[in-house]
C-alpha cells in the first residue's frame, strides 16, 4: 500500500514538472519551428526572439529556443530583406513554419531626405506605401546618427490575407482598457546598418510623412472614417502604440499623415468589445494553422489573423465581438487551404460553411487573454473532414476533360482505364477503392488493377480492392477496372466504386456510379431490363435519321448478290459489325441496353412471351405474334411494301425447348478448331464458321418462323427477333473465340480468320504473293483486310460476283422488296464510338480485322465495348 502511494506521488510530481517545462509560468518554454520564405524555402540566420531571448535559425530555417516560462510570450522573427513577423502566445509554439514576406530593400543616405516607395509586384493588388523622412532624422538605440548609408526595407502588407503581426492588441489612451484594432492597412518599414544588426529609429521630434494604402477589404469602409490613427507595433510587448494621426485621401485610397516610430505601421480604429474563440482540435494534427477572416454580410473586412494550432485546445484572442468569421484550415507546411475541415459547436452540430460567430464581448475589466481552459471564449471544435475524391471512367491519365462525361460510364469484362484524383489540393491521401455496396442486391461489381502502359495483352483486372496514393497536387492517378464476371448490372449506374480513406473500411471520400453493361440471356432479364430494352426498340423504330428501318434495309441489300454477310467467312464479322452499329444506336437512346440474346440451347419461354418478343400467334399457319398491350412492340410495323406491316411468325409453340433443332454451342466449339475459309457450297461444312451459319443460324431463322419474315434474308431483319437471334450467333462466335484463344491473327496453326489479305472490287488482290485464293473466294469481303459494305461505300461488282451491291445511300424504289422508307446507312463510315477508348476513335471504314478482338485483348482501345454474360474474359 505504501509503495502504491509513493508511486502515485512520484508520477504526479513528474507530470507537473513535465507540464511546467513548456507551458506554465514557471520552468522553461521551448519554442521551435522553421523560418521560411513565401515559397516555403528555409531562411537561415533569421533572428528568432522570444520575450527578449534570441537565437538564429539554422541554414534550413529550423530553430529551437528555450526561454523562461511566462504567462505570455512574444515571438519575433526578423531577417534583413524580409518584413518581420510577430506572434503573441500563451504557450510555447513548436510545430509552425513561420513565413516571412520579402521586403523591398535599398540603401539610402540618412543625411538627405529619404523617400521610400514600395514597388514590389504585390502592390499592384494592395497598393503601394510611400514614406518620406527628413534629412538626418535617424538614430540608433543610443541616439547616435548612422555613420554612413543605411539599409532601408519596406513591404506593404496584405493584412487581409494574414500578413503582418499576428496580433492586434491595444490599450486605451489612459491605459485602463484592453482592446484591439481592425486594420485598414499596414506596412513594414525598417532602417538598419548594412548587417542588419543595428536598427535605426526616428529621433525624438522627427516625423515621417506616410501614405498608407487601404487594403481592398476595407476600401468601402474607409470614407466613413476620414480620421484614423497610425499605430506602430511594439515588438517588446506585442501591443500597438499610437503613432500619429491619419486622414483618408480618397484620391489615392490611402491614409496620409505623419508617424514618429518605424516598424510595423498600421492605420486602425481601436475597438474594445473583444471576443475570443476557443478552438479544440478533433482528429486534426497539431501544426496546422487557422485563418480567421472577418466577415460582414459575407464580405471580408479588416485583417486576417492566423492562429497557430499548436495544441489540442487553442485560443484566438481579441476578435471583434458578435462578428461572423470564416475559418479556414491552412496546411502547416504549405499554407494551402485544406478544404476538408468541419467546424462544429461543442455539442457536435456542424456549422455551415465553417462560419462562426465570435459571440459576446468579454466583459470590461476581464482578461482579454483568458488562460486555459479559455472559459470566456466562444468554443468550437474543428475536425478533419474527408478529402473529396473524384473518379472518372474511361478516361486516360493525360486527358484534359474539364468535366466528367456520364455517357461513358459503361464497362464490360474488358479492362477499362479510369482515374482518380483529389478535388482540392492538400496533403497526399491514401485511398482504397472497393466495390462492395450493400443495399444494391442486383447491382454490378467491378474488379481493379493497377494501371500499366502499355497494358499487358490478355490481362484484365482481378483484384477486389485497389490501394492508391492520390497526390496532394490533385494530379490524376490512373487505374484499371473491369466488370466482375457473374455480377453484371441490372440497372443503370448500379455499380458503385467507393474511395475509402486509409483502408477498405475507412470513411468514403468519393464514389462513382457506373454500369457493367453486358449482353444477357433474354430469357432471364428483369422486368426493368426488359422494359428498357423494348422501349429502346420502339424509339429506334420511330425516330428520324438513323433508325431501325435503315438496318433492315441494310441487311436486305447485303443479302443480294455479292453478299459479304452470308456464305463466306465474313458471316460472323459482318454481322458483328451490324449488331454493334445497331447496339450503339440503341444505346444513344437508352444507354442501359445491350443486344440481349435468345439462347436456344434451352427453352426460352420468357423470350417468346407476350411481354418480350411476342408469344406465338393463334390460328392458321403464320400469325402476328401476340404482344401484351403494354409491350412497346405491340403494333410493330415491318414497313414491308404491299403488306399491312404485321409481323409474321409460325404458330407452333416457340416456348418449348427446341430439343437440339439448332446445333448446340458446346458441340460446335468441341468440333471445330478452324475458323474456316467457308465455301459457297451450301452443303459443305468443315469449319466453325460454316457450321455456325448452316447448323445454328439457318435453323434458328426457320424454327420459330418457318415461312415468316425471319426466314428470308431480304426480310429477316424486319423482325426484332432477328437481333436476339444474331446476338446468340455472335455469342457462339465469342464463346468459340475464348475456347480457342482466337482473338487475333494466326494463333499456333489456327487462323482466327482467313488470310490477311485485301481484295478489291475488281477481284484484284491488293497484296499479291501472300495468298491467292481460289476463284470461289476471289471476292471482296472474304479476307481479313477487306472493308465491309456498306460502311466502305463500295458496290462490289467483280467478275466473281453475280451482281453489284447498291451504293449505301440510295434505296431502290423500283424494287418491290424495297421498304417504304429509305436509305441504308447514312454516311459512308462506321461512326466513332461514343465511349472514348473503344474502337473506332474516329469514323472508320470497318474491316473484318476490326471485328475480331472484341474485348480488346491485345489492345484495350481496339475493344468494341460489348460482351456476353456467360463468356468471361478470363477464368
Amino acid at each position: 500500500m505504501k509503495r502504491y502511494v509513493w508511486g502515485v506521488l512520484f508520477l504526479a510530481v513528474g507530470f507537473l514538472a513535465a507540464g511546467c517545462k513548456s507551458t506554465m509560468g514557471t520552468g522553461t518554454a521551448v519554442f521551435s519551428g522553421w523560418v521560411v520564405d513565401q515559397g516555403g524555402a528555409g531562411i537561415g540566420n533569421a533572428r528568432v526572439a522570444v520575450n527578449g531571448k534570441a537565437t538564429k535559425s539554422r541554414p534550413d530555417g529550423a530553430f529551437e529556443l528555450s526561454v523562461p516560462g511566462a504567462k505570455s510570450y512574444v515571438l519575433n522573427i526578423s531577417h534583413p530583406g524580409f518584413a518581420g513577423l510577430s506572434q503573441l502566445s500563451r504557450k510555447a509554439l513548436t510545430k509552425q513554419r513561420w513565413r516571412l514576406i520579402r521586403a523591398q530593400v535599398e540603401t539610402v543616405d540618412p543625411a538627405g531626405e529619404i523617400t521610400l516607395k514600395d514597388r514590389r509586384p504585390e502592390v499592384a493588388r494592395i497598393g503601394s506605401t510611400r514614406l518620406t523622412i527628413p534629412p538626418n532624422s535617424l538614430v540608433d538605440p543610443q541616439g547616435n546618427p548612422p555613420a554612413g548609408p543605411v539599409r532601408a526595407a519596406i513591404a506593404t502588407l496584405d493584412v487581409g490575407n494574414g500578413e503582418g503581426p499576428r496580433d492586434w492588441a491595444v490599450r486605451s489612451d489612459d491605459g485602463t482598457r484592453e482592446g484591439f484594432l481592425v486594420s485598414y492597412g499596414a506596412v513594414f518599414v525598417q532602417f538598419t546598418d548594412a548587417t542588419g544588426s543595428v536598427t535605426y529609429q526616428l529621433k525624438s521630434g522627427a516625423v515621417g510623412q506616410i501614405s498608407l494604402p487601404v487594403i481592398p477589404g476595407m476600401r468601402p469602409h474607409a470614407p466613413a472614417n476620414p480620421q484614423a490613427r497610425f499605430w506602430y507595433y511594439d515588438e517588446s510587448d506585442g501591443y500597438w502604440k499610437h503613432n500619429g494621426d491619419a486622414t483618408f485621401d480618397a484620391a489615392s485610397n490611402a491614409y496620409v499623415g505623419t508617424v514618429n516610430h518605424l516598424s510595423f505601421i498600421n492605420t486602425d480604429i481601436a475597438k474594445f468589445d473583444a471576443a475570443c474563440l476557443k478552438v479544440t482540435l478533433s482528429g486534426i494534427p497539431v501544426g496546422h494553422k487557422l485563418r480567421i477572416r472577418y466577415h460582414s454580410g459575407g464580405t471580408p473586412f479588416g485583417q486576417t489573423p492566423i492562429l497557430p494550432l499548436d495544441d489540442a485546445d487553442n485560443a484566438a484572442y481579441r476578435l471583434p465581438a458578435n462578428t461572423n468569421v470564416l475559418l479556414e484550415l491552412m496546411d502547416g507546411v504549405t499554407d494551402e487551404i485544406l478544404s476538408d475541415m468541419i467546424v462544429e459547436d461543442p455539442v457536435g452540430n456542424p456549422l455551415v460553411n465553417t462560419v462562426v460567430n465570435t459571440g459576446t464581448a468579454i466583459p470590461e475589466g476581464d482578461d482579454l487573454w483568458p488562460d486555459e481552459p479559455y472559459t470566456p471564449c466562444h468554443a468550437i471544435v474543428i475536425k478533419q473532414g474527408l478529402p473529396e475524391v473524384e473518379i472518372r471512367i474511361n478516361e486516360l491519365p493525360a486527358d484534359a476533360f474539364p468535366r466528367d462525361n456520364p455517357t461513358d460510364d459503361y464497362i464490360t469484362w474488358a479492362p477499362t482505364v479510369s482515374r482518380a484524383r483529389l478535388v482540392t489540393p492538400g496533403a497526399d491521401v491514401d485511398i482504397v477503392l472497393t466495390n462492395d455496396t450493400p443495399g444494391i442486391p442486383l447491382g454490378g461489381d467491378v474488379l481493379f488493377a493497377a494501371h500499366a502502359e502499355p497494358w499487358p495483352a490478355n490481362t484484365t483486372a482481378t483484384a477486389n480492392t485497389l490501394a492508391l496514393t492520390l497526390p496532394g497536387s490533385g494530379a490524376w492517378v490512373p487505374f484499371v477496372i473491369a466488370g466482375k464476371h457473374g455480377t453484371p448490372s441490372t440497372n443503370d449506374k448500379d455499380t458503385i466504386i467507393e474511395a475509402h480513406v486509409g483502408n477498405a473500411a475507412g470513411p468514403i471520400a468519393g464514389t462513382k456510379a457506373l454500369m457493367v453493361r453486358v449482353r444477357k440471356n433474354a430469357n432471364n432479364l428483369t422486368p426493368g431490363e426488359r422494359a428498357r430494352f423494348l422501349f429502346a426498340w420502339r424509339k429506334f423504330r420511330n425516330q428520324g435519321g438513323t433508325n431501325y428501318v435503315q438496318f433492315q434495309e441494310l441487311h436486305r441489300l447485303a443479302s443480294l448478290a455479292g453478299d459479304e454477310g452470308h456464305m463466306q467467312p465474313a458471316f460472323l464479322t459482318w454481322h458483328r459489325a451490324m449488331l454493334l452499329h445497331v447496339e450503339r444506336e440503341l444505346q444513344k437512346l437508352e444507354p442501359t441496353v445491350a443486344l440481349h440474346y435468345w439462347d436456344w440451347d434451352a427453352a426460352a419461354p420468357n423470350v417468346f412471351s407476350e411481354d418480350l418478343i411476342g408469344a406465338p400467334g393463334v390460328g392458321g399457319f403464320l400469325a402476328e405474334p401476340d404482344f401484351s398491350p403494354a409491350n412497346p412492340m405491340n403494333g410493330w410495323n415491318t414497313d414491308l411494301p404491299f403488306s399491312s406491316g404485321e409481323l409474321r411468325r409460325s404458330t407452333i409453340d416457340h416456348t418449348a425447348d427446341p430439343d437440339g433443332y439448332m446445333k448446340p454451342l458446346d458441340d460446335m466449339v468441341a468440333e471445330w478448331n478452324d475458323y474456316g475459309f467457308s465455301s459457297s457450297d451450301f452443303f459443305f461444312t468443315d469449319s466453325f464458321c460454316d457450321d455456325v451459319e448452316r447448323s445454328s443460324h439457318n435453323n434458328a431463322h426457320g424454327w420459330p418462323c418457318g415461312g415468316g419474315n425471319l426466314t428470308y434474308p431480304n426480310r429477316s431483319a424486319t423482325d426484332p427477333l432477328f437481333y436476339l437471334l444474331h446476338s446468340q450467333i455472335d455469342r457462339e462466335y465469342a464463346f468459340w473465340q475464348r475456347a480457342k484463344d482466337a482473338f487475333g491473327l494466326p494463333v499456333g496453326d489456327t487462323l482466327t480468320f482467313p488470310f490477311p489479305h485485301h481484295y478489291d472490287n475488281n477481284g484484284t488482290a491488293a497484296a499479291p504473293g501472300l495468298f491467292i485464293p481460289d476463284a470461289d473466294h476471289r471476292q471482296k469481303g472474304a479476307f481479313l483486310d477487306d472493308g465491309l459494305w456498306p460502311w466502305d461505300g463500295t458496290t462490289g461488282g467483280t467478275p466473281f460476283t453475280v451482281a453489284e451491291r447498291p451504293p449505301n445511300t440510295t434505296p431502290d424504289p423500283a424494287d418491290e422488296n424495297s421498304p417504304d422508307s429509305a436509305p441504308v446507312v447514312p454516311g459512308t463510315a462506321f461512326p466513332a464510338s461514343v465511349i472514348r477508348n473503344l474502337w473506332p476513335a474516329v469514323p472508320t471504314i470497318p474491316h473484318n480485322a476490326h471485328m475480331i478482338d472484341y474485348l480488346g485483348r491485345f489492345k484495350p482501345a481496339d475493344g468494341l465495348g460489348f460482351c456476353y454474360d456467360d463468356v468471361p474474359y478470363q477464368e
Binding site: N542, H566, F621, P632, G707
Partner: protein, 350 residues
C-alpha cells in the same frame, strides 16, 4: 349431379396429366452422352414399340455425326410408320444434300408416305430453306411443291400452298387469287387462302378479297376484314363490322386489329367502343390493345391520347372483368403514363 361434376373434372384431369408430363420431360441430353446414345439406340430399334421409339426421339438432340445416315435410312424406309419416318427426318437437323434428296424423293412419289407425312415434310422443308439456298436447289424444291398443289389430299395441298405462298411463289399465289375471284375451285379452305394472300401482300389481291367481307363464316369474314383494312373502299364496311354488336366477336377482333394499322380515323370509333361499358369486354380489350399498338408506331393527337388514357383508367377500375383483362389493363395504364409524354404530363398535372 354427380355426372356433371365428373364432366367438369375430366378436362381438369387431362390438363393436369398434360402439365405433369411436360414437367417430367427429361433434360436434353448432351451430344455423345450415354443418354443420347441410349435414346438413339431405342429410336433405331425396330423391335421396340412405336410409342417408345417416338418418346426416345425427343431425346435425340443434335445427333452424333454417325447417327445422321441411320436417321436417313429410317426416314426413307417405307416399312416404317409415317410417324417414325417423320421423326427420323425431323431429328436429322443437318440440312445435308442427302437429307434434301430423301425428302424430295418422298414428296415426289405419290405412293410413298401418307398425307400426314407429306404435309409435315413439306412444312419442315419450308422451315429449313432459309437464306442463301442455291438457286438450282430452290428450283428443285419449288417444282415438287408445285406438283403438290394438285395433290388430291387436302392436308398435303394446304401444306404446299402455304410453303409456296410464303416464298411468294407466283404460281401458287395466282392460283389462289384467281380461284377467290371466281369464287369456285378454291383449292384450300377459304380462311387459309385469304391468310396466304394477306401474307403475300394484300394490296395485290384486293379485288379477290373484297367479296369475302360479306361472307357468312366469321373465320372467313374476319380474315378478309383484317386483310382489307388497307383498302380505303372496304374500310367503311370494316368499321361497321368492328363497331356493330351484332357482328361475330372473331370478326370484330380481326377488324379492329387491321383498322388500327391503317385507319387514321381509328380513334373516332375505337375510343367509344372502349368507353362503352355495355360493350363486350373482349372487344373493348381488343380496341384498347389495338389503340396502344397504333400509338406505339403512329402519330396520335394528344387529346386522343389523353382521352384514351382516361378511358383505360376507367376500364381498369371496372368490376367483373376477367382477371387477365383487368391485370393487362392496369399494366397498360402504367405503360401509357411512362411511355407517352403527353399522357405523363396530363397525369402529373392532375
Amino acid at each position: 349431379m354427380r355426372s356433371k361434376v365428373m364432366i367438369r373434372l375430366i378436362p381438369l384431369t387431362v390438363m393436369a396429366i398434360l402439365c405433369l408430363s411436360l414437367a417430367a420431360q427429361p433434360a436434353r441430353p448432351q451430344r455423345g452422352s450415354e443418354q443420347q446414345r441410349a435414346a438413339t439406340a431405342t429410336f433405331l430399334d425396330r423391335q421396340r414399340p412405336e410409342t417408345e421409339r417416338l418418346r426416345a426421339a425427343r431425346l435425340l438432340g443434335w445427333p452424333e455425326n454417325k447417327t445422321f445416315p441411320l436417321l436417313l435410312a429410317v426416314g426413307a424406309d417405307r416399312a416404317e410408320s409415317d410417324a417414325i419416318r417423320f421423326a427420323a427426318l425431323y431429328h436429322h437437323h443437318r440440312f445435308s444434300r442427302e437429307w434434301l434428296d430423301t425428302i424430295l424423293k418422298i414428296l415426289d412419289d405419290p405412293n410413298d408416305g401418307g398425307a400426314e407425312l407429306d404435309a409435315k415434310l413439306t412444312e419442315e422443308l419450308n422451315r429449313r430453306i432459309t437464306f442463301r439456298l442455291p438457286p438450282e436447289v430452290r428450283q428443285r424444291i419449288l417444282t415438287i411443291w408445285r406438283k403438290l398443289l394438285k395433290d388430291p389430299r387436302d392436308r398435303v395441298r394446304l401444306a404446299a400452298f402455304r410453303a409456296l405462298a410464303a416464298n411468294h411463289d407466283a404460281v401458287a399465289v395466282n392460283q389462289l387469287d384467281e380461284s377467290l375471284r371466281r369464287g369456285s375451285g378454291i383449292p384450300i379452305p377459304i380462311p387459309d387462302a385469304i391468310e396466304l394472300l394477306d401474307l403475300n401482300g394484300p394490296v395485290n389481291h384486293i379485288t379477290a378479297l373484297r367479296p369475302f367481307l360479306s361472307h357468312r363464316d366469321p373465320a372467313v369474314q374476319g380474315r378478309a376484314a383484317r386483310a382489307l383494312a388497307l383498302d380505303p373502299e372496304s374500310r367503311p364496311r370494316i368499321v361497321e363490322l368492328a363497331t356493330s354488336a351484332s357482328t361475330a366477336e372473331e370478326v370484330r377482333l380481326h377488324a379492329l386489329r387491321g383498322l388500327a394499322r391503317e385507319d387514321q380515323g381509328f380513334a373516332a370509333y375505337a375510343l367509344p367502343l372502349l368507353e362503352n361499358v355495355r360493350e363486350d369486354a373482349d372487344v373493348r380489350f381488343a380496341a384498347m390493345k389495338a389503340f396502344v399498338g397504333r400509338m406505339n408506331y403512329n402519330s396520335v393527337p394528344a387529346r386522343e391520347q389523353i382521352r384514351f388514357a382516361e378511358a383505360v383508367e376507367r376500364f381498369a377500375k371496372e368490376r367483373n372483368l376477367p382477371p387477365k383483362i383487368l391485370r393487362q389493363t392496369a399494366e397498360t395504364l402504367v405503360y401509357l403514363k411512362q411511355g407517352f409524354p403527353e399522357i405523363q404530363k396530363h397525369y402529373e398535372g392532375r
